[in-house]
Amino acid sequence: MLQAQSPEITFMRSTFSSYYREAMIEPPHRFARREWGFFPFGGKMMFRHIAFRNRDELEEHFRRSAPMHAYHSAAYYQDPGAQPMAEKVKGWMGADLIFDLDADHIPGAEELGYVQQLAIVKGEVIRLLEDFILDDLGFPRSSTYLFFSGGRGYHVHVRDPGVLNLSSNERRAIVDFITGRGFSIEVAFPKEVVQVNTRFGSSKSRRNFRSVDWGGWVGKVHIGKDRLITELSALEPSLRKKRLKDIARAGRVQAGDQILSSLDESLFGRSNGRSASRLKGSGLFDVFPNNQQLELFLRLVVSYSSISLSGETDEPVTTDTKRLIRAVSTLHGKTGLKVTPIPLDRIDDFDPLRDAVALGDDRVDIVVERGSRPDMAGGSHVLEKGVNKVPLYLAYFLIGRREARLHPHIRTGAE
């Protein structure tokens, strides 16, 4: 943690101060009905329960305090500035439905650089939108908003009238759908009696796998199995097993090495993977020798096709109807990047290090421990170990992420 009064903090604060003196804040939808919260530079806690009646008040606040982080509630309140001694005082009027996807929730992301982390999260966001929000869940494009968070992820806000009054429990049900929780093979693919022998009182039953156009998780399993097999087929056997293991871990599917190996064997071992190609593209799941393998395979497909939402277990975002979320068009204090709205049809092209850069390009001297070649604001920068002169946006980004320090001559010269 940077010291509260360190030269770096002073630099960061004054950078934001100059920015907010000039910049326009784009107030979020119905901003006067929302509670705001701010985290100051060098501060230890958030100031909450702040409300603005109009745009001038809002902009004045940013000019005056230049917060390190700025948030507003997903909820709308009668009296958003009321202190929450009793929650009723605020008068909850409903809340947007928020999805938070962040690199910290992607397994193995810590080992990757910022650019790769964000690329992975972007892939997840696209799946969240195309496979869930705009597909089965049926939310219209016109009430779905996508934002780059300024940090290591993306936020999706749904403002459909149907979601505003959903309780926390009801939001949990939507999260469960997206994460595939609660999916039951027995309910989704029920065993049905296909033949009854009245003389002996016996019957024959068969699982009904329905088909892709059934929708919901039934459809997702049909699509997911094809995608998964395509992906696995392209891998070397050893990588294939590792991939299966990762998918199992991500979906908390309990499966030992041995059973994963036999599953792999059933799919790809016999007759040169003919089972895998039979399974792919057909609605038939009869390539497994036993029920245990079939169920394991289905669980893996669910894990593979679901989305990991940030911290829904420990720090809920979607289900917390009073939570604060980062405000659009404000700067993220750890990167200096701007919380940026992204039109849904532009997500493919969006590059945070180009499209969310908001700070200027005045030259700043910084010190780095090792050399690197970051791309930012459409240009390539070459950093050598030691002192470098870089544009303000890059200096802030590196200092905020603690990959660089200010040069001592600025340190002593500052205030």
Binding site: D135, D136, L137, G138, F139, D160, G162, V163, N165, L166, S167, N169, E170, A173, I174, D176, F177, G180, R181, G182, F183, S184, E186, V187, A188, V193, V194, Q195, V196, N197, T198, N208, S211, D213, W214, G215, G216, W217, V218, Q254, T313
Partner: protein, 366 residues
Amino acid sequence: MEPADVARYPFLEASRDHVKARGISMSAISSDEFRVVHQFARQRLLDAVDGSGRPEMERPGDVEALILSYPLSRFIVSAIRDRNLVKWFSHREAEVAADNLENEGLEAMLSIGAEVGLKAYPPPVEKRIEPPMVLKGVRPSGDDLIERDRRSYWVRMTDYLSARSHITGQEWDLSNQRLVNGYIELNRRRYIRLVQELIKTRIESGLEPGPDIPSHGAIRDIALEIKARVDTRRKEYRPISMGAVTITRIPPCMRQALGMTQAGENLPHHARFALVAFLNAIGMGPEEIFKVFATSPDFKEDIVRYQIDHIRGSSSGTEYRVPGCETMKSTGICFNPDSLCEKDWMNSPYTYYRVKGKKKGGYIGR
């Protein structure tokens, strides 16, 4: 709406209007002239408290009295000011309405569903032809309307979520629904089940504690009688004191199930089973377990006793074990897992109870 319809669904707007149009005040209704109304209201309330049969009409003219008995029973429930009675009353009234809906014509059923918040929409996709029901050697069974109705009822997902909020069980989880473009497919039985939930909510929502019990007259007599019955039912089955059982050691899933039961909410079958097996495993006796369920709205004494005996093994010879965490999860009743639940080795609610106890014991010794 015909008076007979009003009588079957007295919680609808049209029914309220019907009563309002008659312009009878609560004080007027207490006169002896409305004796039949009093009888019907009393019967309604007794039915809610201990399930002793619906009011029967003897003459066709009684239908108006039956209609009036609904607002009168609500008035009495509000005056008695008892949370359990509110739950029991709204549960029972909704249950009866749902029974009626099962045999209702399509249009009427859908309009009632829409009024309480579950509008049915045309299918968002071409209806796929399901495989024929009659297979080799299988004869179609049951010929009441609900079995014969093979129609699909598509409702908006958000409406579905609000309606099913208090129903648990995998067959209701969103992940197991046919969900297409924001619409969920229901059959008639499931549609009615959700409408029943919404009716219950509607009935319950207006039942705030109301004016005092009248100081004299027929309505006072009924109110006092019902209040006594409520007290008796509660006393007979007073919510348990956990006794030797340490409440802080109970895992979150079981605490949730217990809380729901004691708040007078219905537990899904799996959860009830798990709870009984758990309470049995931690050493509670059958009487104590029995009392846990006494405030359930769908409480039926002989059934509950049978289930307890069955799970404890005294009737079946097999003592059922507490379901493991995996089973709890896959049946959708693993509620609010905490950090202890998340441990790799945690395998059942019973393990949680034992481990939590050990930790505590360690500190007590110091």
